[in-house]
């Protein structure tokens, strides 16, 4: 004990800790990303980018703090103080708050900045990965300094959920700063969010400071640091020791139980709806072209295995989108002959009917990333029991993404964060235009739309339907139609799992949404 105190005293003396330094409050957040990609909202991807971007930028509107509700009448205003959608869902009008200030003296946020942002994000020359979210914009009018009118080329009552929300490129950017800073904007951006960037140390951290002129009032915390801690052990130990106040969890069996044991005061921030995971069956390949084989695979997989391994991290997924997503299918919606009920005996019977009484073997490749590999290993073990041998080849992550988009895989495990809307998942994975071998490709790895049916028209109808009840009914119907053909097996949806130290900080509201969709403007330090 004496040694401990002596070391502390020595360190304090050596470091020259000043009273001024200790007076400021700091919150440190550890993300699993190895380094910052970009804080320019056009180029930020992954939690390590999205988390600081959310703190630095504001959107026009956003879900209420800590929630994922995306209905237009349930949103809270950020830069916009009020908004309106035309009855035909083709025009969105936003009235901006007056006096919203950019960081570092770049002046007031105006409609010109909003129009500039939308044009920049839509322009393919910008090279943003989010440009498809903005494709529906026909033109933008700015009748005055504080009014923005967005005209769409097709009706879409959820346009705001794709293009104007946190996480998917919807942050409003400062025209003057983007043009003035050029490439430097990536790491030294100017936003209007609660925290302004003051430093970036590559592979180490992003340092931000409370924005005095934040439209929502100056944050309670003076400094917010985002640390890049890719090694799970280092991140966890740093958190347990108290060096870090909040961390991104690790989807590793046993990790959560161990953390709970070591840190009884840990606050678990499980954000739902979680990410979208599925095993996509390439229906252009034999024997996956046979519905009986696909049904046999579906009946051979038991989602409860994931829950046993990962506990609260995951929840069962019944439709194409997580249960809590808008339009998500829940257990009660399922018909009696649903092909995803676990029934290995039925699987064997279906395989025999399809001409595979002794099963068959199939090749698949998977990325080295733990979360992907774990999914396929669990699937492999379960399918082995019904006679299907999956031969797995492990490849590196970037090759995996490149090769699955070249239509080279038979069984593709794919997980991604999507806007919490069933239509977002349907468009990305089950629209015929999204088939991976097409120029308009997105993430349709199963070839549904060209094979085993086509639901494009129904999807379009659901996308454009302005009546909420009708839209929800359509979305559920489309999902049931698609999944009855088993182009993919939905896998349990992992939550956005973050943890904060209840002894050192408070977020300011209960967290039920994805981290990176809300700010820490209301957070406080207890140190």
């Amino acid at each position: 004990m004496a040694m401990k105190h002596l070391t502390r005293i020595l360190c304090a003396a050596l470091l020259g800790a000043s009273t001024a330094a200790s007076a400021q409050t700091t919150i440190r957040v550890g993300v699993s990303q190895r380094d910052l990609g970009a804080m320019d909202p056009a180029f930020g991807i992954g939690n390590g980018d999205e988390f600081p971007i959310r703190q630095v930028f504001s959107t026009l509107v956003s879900p209420r703090d800590g929630t994922s509700d995306l209905k237009l009448d349930q949103l809270q205003g950020e830069i916009a103080e009020r908004w309106e959608m035309s009855p035909d869902a083709r025009t969105f009008t936003f009235w901006l708050r007056k006096g919203v200030q950019w960081h570092r003296g770049y002046g007031e946020v105006t409609s010109e900045d909003v129009a500039f942002t939308l044009a920049r994000m839509k322009d393919p020359a910008t090279g943003t990965a989010y440009s498809s979210n903005f494709r529906q914009i026909d033109h933008v009018d700015t009748p005055d300094r504080y009014t923005v009118v967005i005209h769409l080329n097709t009706p879409n009552p959820f346009f705001h959920a794709f293009a104007l929300m946190p996480r998917f490129g919807g942050y409003i950017q400062c025209k003057k700063a983007v043009l003035e800073l050029g490439d430097k904007y990536r790491h030294n951006p100017v936003g209007s969010g609660p925290f302004a960037v003051t430093g970036y140390e590559p592979k180490q951290k992003v340092v931000t400071r409370a924005h005095e002129g934040y439209w929502g009032g100056k944050p309670k915390v003076d400094v917010l640091e985002v640390l890049f801690l890719p090694e799970t052990a280092a991140r966890t130990l740093g958190f347990v020791k108290g060096d870090v106040d909040m961390i991104e969890g690790a989807t590793v069996p046993g990790w959560l139980a161990s953390l709970r044991k070591q840190m009884p005061h840990v606050v678990e921030d499980f954000g739902r709806p979680g990410s979208v995971w599925a095993l996509h069956l390439n229906m252009t390949r034999k024997p996956l072209d046979d519905l009986r084989v696909r049904k046999a695979i579906a009946h051979g997989i038991d989602q409860r295995i994931w829950q046993a391994a990962f506990g609260d991290f995951v929840e069962p997924m019944y439709g194409v989108a997580p249960q809590k997503a808008y339009g998500g299918v829940v257990k009660e919606d399922l018909p009696a002959d649903w092909p995803f009920h676990f029934n290995p005996e039925l699987s064997k019977k279906l395989l025999a009917e399809a001409g595979f009484p002794n099963g068959f073997s199939i090749d698949a490749f998977i990325t080295e990333r733990e979360e992907y590999k774990t999914h396929l290993l669990i699937v492999q073990e379960q399918l082995r029991k019904i006679g299907i041998q999956v031969n797995i080849r492990v490849v590196d992550h970037t090759s995996y993404h490149a090769d699955i988009r070249k239509d080279l895989n038979s069984l593709t495990v794919y997980g991604s964060g999507q806007p919490p809307l069933a239509q977002a998942v349907l468009n990305a994975f089950y629209n015929s235009a999204a088939i991976v071998s097409k120029p308009t490709r997105n993430m349709n790895f199963s070839h549904y739309g060209d094979i085993a049916g086509n639901s494009d028209a129904l999807m379009d109808q659901a996308n454009q339907e302005t009546d909420d009840a009708k839209r929800l009914a359509l979305l559920k119907q489309v999902q049931l139609n698609i999944l009855s053909q088993v182009p993919a097996i939905p896998l349990p949806s992992p939550a956005s799992a973050w943890f904060h130290n209840g002894k050192t900080m408070e977020i300011g509201f209960p967290v039920k949404a994805y981290m990176g969709t809300f700010t820490l403007a209301k957070a406080s330090s207890k140190r």
Binding site: R34, D183, K203, A233, T398
Partner: protein
């Protein structure tokens, strides 16, 4: 001596050129596209093409190679493909952390390994020798990532004597952050040096001149340190030089475990993100160190043993 150093430095040029070429080719042969890695899962084909064009990845291979070579020769490694940060600035920031870790591990290895090797050689087959050999076995057997986590658990988490994360900023802060990583890496080095010193000492202590010195009544301490150790250190020095190269690669793992902002972090991050420019620069720097360490080892051996002439 100066002519020898100059000649050896000139010999470095074709070696480094070969390394540059191999590194460039190896990265292009590896599967994976930096554009896909940088832009992520939502990237449209148009966005990927724009990104590739901006970075010159759509240029013919030979043109990319010449651009890389001309920049590297000027000491300019360009910018990170993934986040646009100038690589020279990243190296300038990371290198000191890696260098001080390697140096501290070497120092720890020497300070612990040499005296322990000498001591155990003089106490051959005794209890102390046995304990020291177990220490050496442990040093060799414990993987550094495991040892690092154990040290973190004991001395950082539970005893709170040392910081957990990062590399520190001010001088003393950096030294404080350096202790556990240096012990992690240096323990293997110490085990290696101890065994090398022990066996070398045992060999030398059997020599005639040692027996003569003892016969002439020279004090045992003098025999060991003046007559035996100086000669025993020649193979130890060569061995240390070779082992230092292993230690340099060991810094990568240790930096990851302790979240130190060194060259290892740059390299691993670069590889996983297919950041060609970053990995190229990192590997060239490592290759340069290999050449320099080899040269220094040769010079050091000559300084210790006057019989060795530099030609």
């Amino acid at each position: 001596m100066i002519a020898y150093i100059a000649r050896r430095l000139l010999e470095v040029v074709p070696t480094v050129l070969l390394v540059l070429t191999l590194v460039f080719l190896a990265l292009r042969v590896l599967p994976g596209d930096p554009a896909v890695a940088a832009l992520g899962e939502f990237a449209t084909p148009a966005a990927i093409e724009t990104f590739r064009h901006k970075l010159g990845l759509d240029q013919p291979m030979w043109r990319q190679y010449l651009a890389f070579l001309s920049q590297a020769v000027m000491g300019d490694f360009g910018q990170s493909m993934v986040n646009g940060t100038p690589i020279n600035a990243l190296l300038a920031r990371s290198l000191p952390y890696t260098m001080e870790l390697a140096a501290a591990a070497l120092l720890f290895g020497m300070v612990v390994g040499v005296p322990l090797g000498v001591w155990t050689a003089t106490k051959r087959d005794g209890a102390a020798d046995g304990i020291a050999r177990i220490f050496a076995l442990l040093g060799f057997s414990l993987p550094d990532f495991y040892l690092g986590v154990l040290l973190l658990l004991a001395f950082s988490l539970h005893l709170d004597w040392f910081p957990m994360l990062g590399g520190g900023e001010t001088f003393w802060d950096r030294m404080h952050h350096l202790v556990l990583p240096a012990i992690t890496l240096g323990l293997v080095m110490a085990a290696f040096i101890m065994r090398l010193t022990r066996s070398s000492m045992l060999e030398v202590l059997r020599r005639d001149y040692v027996r003569t010195a003892r016969g002439k009544g020279v004090a045992e301490r003098w025999v060991i340190f003046k007559h035996a150790l100086r000669n025993a250190l020649i193979p130890v020095t060569t061995g240390m030089g070779i082992y230092l190269l292993t230690t340099l690669s060991g810094t990568i793992t240790v930096e990851l475990v302790f979240s130190r902002p060194g060259l290892g972090q740059l390299l691993i991050g670069g590889i996983s993100a297919r950041d060609y420019t970053m990995v190229q620069a990192g590997l060239v720097v490592f290759a340069f160190f290999v050449v320099v360490v080899n040269l220094l080892t040769d010079l050091l051996c000559a300084a210790i043993d006057p019989r060795i002439t530099l030609r």
